[in-house]
């Protein structure tokens, strides 16, 4: 469903959303351990996220990564499409190019609703939304 990379991206963003502020930036290496993702790998992903304004960063001593208020409004779909590309989630389950509502593949009806509703939720839900669930005890981010 999601690549490792986009899972890691989501975890890193959520970790930053919970633990960082502009005044309390977090180093790549200090994100790596709690979310259980190799240090150099998460650094690379964070750079990509930073380049696309999904996370904020500051170089030099005292620098690190954090989320500003704008960043927190990012819909989850933006994180996923940045890393995995647009059509991993929307393409045909059987990878048939010609599959659409007019010309549905044998599994189309089986998955179309499911897929559409998942994408809709990813568009409607922001990082901020997930965080408020965590703060209110509806869900849990390990560590």
């Amino acid at each position: 469903m999601l690549s490792n990379s986009s899972k890691y991206a989501l975890k890193a963003v959520l970790y930053l959303a919970v633990h960082s502020t502009m005044e309390k930036k977090i180093l790549a290496k200090d994100i790596s351990k709690p979310i259980n993702v190799p240090r150099a790998y998460i650094a690379k992903i964070l750079q990509e996220l930073s380049r696309h304004n999904i996370v904020s960063s500051m170089r030099g001593p005292g620098g690190g990564f954090y989320l500003n208020e704008e960043n927190k409004k990012t819909p989850l779909i933006d994180i996923i499409s940045l890393i995995d590309g647009d059509n991993r989630l929307t393409s045909c389950v059987l990878s048939l190019h010609k599959c659409d509502n007019e010309n549905p593949c044998p599994m189309h009806h089986l998955v179309d609703d499911t897929k559409a509703s998942f994408v809709k939720k990813l568009k409607e839900t922001s990082v901020e939304d997930l965080i408020s669930d965590i703060r209110s005890g509806k869900s849990f981010l390990p560590i």
Copy 2:
């Protein structure tokens, strides 16, 4: 969501369901082209399916692959779990081991329904069901 291999398996089984009978067996190489999967690769997958009684086969001259009535009753989930293993579909979206209803990860509520309903459909739907959709023009299998 699904590996290439399980997509190929589904396509091959559907192709056999539509085009083969016990009297009209089909060679691995003749399945390969229409479903657009490398010859040696689909052969390997067909052998795995055959070993687990998802497709039927006969060696020797006049042999080939086909589906018997029993095979056509196979639920789609059986094909997918055989190739991809059991937990590709059910494991946590963020790959967190400790994620369940009691201890949901931040994305759990977002995907749980979606995932559960997809798996349910895969359990309830058989090869035969998909084929009757094709025969009645509700869906299309290329070639």
